[in-house]
Each structure stands twice: as structure tokens, then as C-alpha cells.
Symmetry: C2
Subunit: 217 residues, 2 copies
């Protein structure tokens, strides 16, 4: 008697994430899914990173927001190709939203695509978009306890970045406690400590990102 | 021929929220659903408010977090009755979670119950918990554009509070732009500007809250 083998049926999201991944591979575009709380500095990080990229790593951006085009306008003003997705209340981006937006971007001319997710430390972690790298950004005003309180998000990260390091003393931010929290939920995850405002730590971060980008492509 | 009238079927959440509301009415407990981004200062606000309450307004707290009991321990250390709900990954509190926690609180001895929701500017707005007042807390490090980007949350607020006012200059926070955003999505909503750290603005906020609490009970 033959035993029927039930194939792993991918969810609609994961199936479309795979299609996105194939599209990105075809255009040799390295894709970063950028997740963080509201106001952690996602757009600032994209701009500060883009400004430090070598000539042969051309950036592009997908902006995800519930509403408004504030971030896309900011990015476009720097001459970076960008498309805005308004989720209309949805608390995260999903693979079909990304798929629908890709026609608006010159992907063959984009080496490094940032997808700025909706500001939310919970829901975005659960949706594969087809990205190569999951980047979680925390910021010192949020407090050093975030990895303990939002373990799912920090566990989903391929790399963690702590922004607004310049104002850490103002908020009595305990870096050691934060670092231990990240390591607890995601052992070995690289952690970069930066300030998009002052530029501190940005060179190390960008060097690491560019190396990842070149390996993958 | 009789026309059948279809009764409005409440969802399970709304039905239980109504039960919660009946319970709170029976114990004359005024209930605040406190919603904000991660790290906006929800717990600090609860503590700073509780410290300024008159003797006849006795506080209590329900702490909602994905994981950990950090906030509940902080509140308990001040001698305030508290129960911690761990949502186990869920991005918001719901009415059944509140219902299940109420047995752990001395409700007849609590005049003002703060429900600290999961840090999230999206999902919690959609779930009625049975509270009397929806309080949305923003903080200056998050930036002045939040009402424009997260209109659903600010529209759901009965009152908006802007915390960390003391560090507004550090973050180039444009109060006028923030205020206009709040008024755009929620015309007439009261807005209090405070710093839990310095105490600035707290007396006005607490006087308003106590008055609301006494009217409702």
C-alpha cells in the first residue's frame, strides 16, 4: 500500500514571498525588511545608510505606512527610487502588498532595496516578504527592556541596530541590559549601535551591510 | 406579513467587553485603556499619575505585555494592586483576557483602574475592553508625525497625552504640527503635554482625569 505524502502547502503569503524572492534574485537586488517601533528612526536610518553606500550599491525604498506619504516624499527628495504602500489600517506589510508595488520600481537599477515596514514591534515579524535580511531597529528612548518585552520581534532579526545612541544618557539607557536581552532571545545576532543624527557607528554598520549585500547577490 | 428584525449580534469580544463594563460599574471602578507605542512611557505615566491621586481615588493596574513581568513588578513595588497579563505573542489585549484577570484584583477597593495595553500604535485600538476612557500616549522622541501616520489610534482616543515633553528640543519636535495632526483625525480631543520625569504638566492632567473619574462613577 502506498502511503500518500502530503506536500507542505505554503500559505498564500509565503507562496508570494517566494515569488518576490525569485524576482529579486533575477534583478540581483538585495532586500532588507526593516522593522521597528513607531519613531525609532527607520526612515532616518535608510537615508543615513544610503548616503554612505559605495557607487556600485544603488539603493531603493518601499515605504509602508497605514496612511500618509510623508516618508516616501522624504526619500524621493533625496533622489532615491521609492514607492509608498498605504496599508489602510493594516498593522504590517505582507508579501502580496510588496508584489503589487514592485512594478513601480526600477528593480534592475536597485542593488539594495529597503522595505520600511509599518511601525510595530509585533505583527510584522510574522510575515515573510521575500527579503534577504530582517533588520530590527530599536532606539534608546524606548528603553533597554524592549528585547525582553517583544521577544518575537528580536528573535526574528538577522541583525539588530540600536539607534539614537547619542541620547542614551538622557534616558538612563542600560546598554548592557539591552545587549543581554538581545542575546537571550537571539544568540549570536549582530548588534550595531548607531546615531543617525551624529553619524556615530554608521560606517561599521554600512560596511557590514554592503558585505552582506555583495555576498548574497 | 411580519418583517423579521435581525438583532445586532455582538462579536464575542464586544459581548465580553460589555460584561467587563457591568462588573466595573458594580464596583464603581473607572477604567482607562492606556495605548501607546513601545517605550512611550506608559508605566511611568501610571506611576506618576498614581502618586498624584487624592486619597479617595485608589488606583489599580492591569499590565499587558507579550512576555515578561517587568512592568507588573515595578508597579507592585509601589504598593499598587496589579495583575500581569502575558499575551504570549498577541499584539493587543482583548476583553476576554481582561475578564480572566479580574479575579486577581480587589476591584471594590480600586476606584481607578489603568489597563496598560501592549505597546502598539495599531491593533489595540480595535478591541473594546470595557473601559470608560481610551487614553493614547505619544512621546516626543517618536516624532511629531505620528497622528498622520497612525490615524486610527489617534481617532480612537478620548484623550491624548504627549509625554517626554522635557526632551522635545533634542528631537526637534514640532508641537504645532503634532497638535494639528491630532485635531485633524480627532477634532476636539483633549491634549495634555507632560513629562513624567520632571512632573511638568502632570497636575493639570491628573486634575482632569480625577474629574472624569468622579463624574463617571
Amino acid at each position: 500500500m502506498r502511503v500518500p505524502v502530503v506536500r507542505d502547502i505554503l500559505s498564500a503569503n509565503d507562496r508570494i514571498a517566494r515569488e518576490n524572492r525569485d524576482t529579486f534574485a533575477a534583478t540581483r537586488t538585495f532586500v532588507v525588511n526593516l522593522m521597528a517601533s513607531p519613531g525609532a528612526g527607520k526612515t532616518s536610518l535608510i537615508l543615513a545608510t544610503a548616503a554612505r553606500l559605495p557607487q556600485d550599491v544603488r539603493p531603493g525604498v518601499v515605504e509602508g505606512d497605514l496612511a500618509s506619504r510623508i516618508d516616501a516624499d522624504t526619500v524621493a527628495a533625496r533622489g532615491i527610487p521609492v514607492v509608498q504602500i498605504n496599508t489602510g489600517g493594516n498593522c504590517h506589510l505582507d508579501a502580496p502588498m510588496i508584489r503589487a508595488s514592485l512594478g513601480e520600481l526600477p528593480l534592475p537599477d536597485i542593488d539594495l532595496l529597503f522595505i520600511e515596514n509599518v511601525g510595530n514591534l509585533v505583527c510584522p515579524a510574522e510575515f515573510d516578504l521575500g527579503a534577504d535580511l530582517a533588520l530590527v531597529v530599536a532606539s534608546t528612548p524606548e528603553g533597554h527592556d524592549k528585547p525582553y518585552k517583544y521577544p518575537g520581534m528580536f528573535a526574528a532579526a538577522d541583525v539588530v541596530l540600536l539607534n539614537k545612541a547619542d541620547v542614551a544618557p538622557v534616558f538612563d539607557f542600560d546598554l548592557d541590559l539591552f545587549r543581554r536581552g538581545v542575546q537571550m532571545v537571539n544568540p549570536g545576532a549582530p548588534l550595531f549601535i548607531v546615531s543617525c543624527k551624529t553619524g556615530a557607528g554608521m560606517d561599521d554598520w554600512v560596511a557590514w551591510l554592503v558585505a552582506e549585500c555583495k555576498v548574497e547577490r
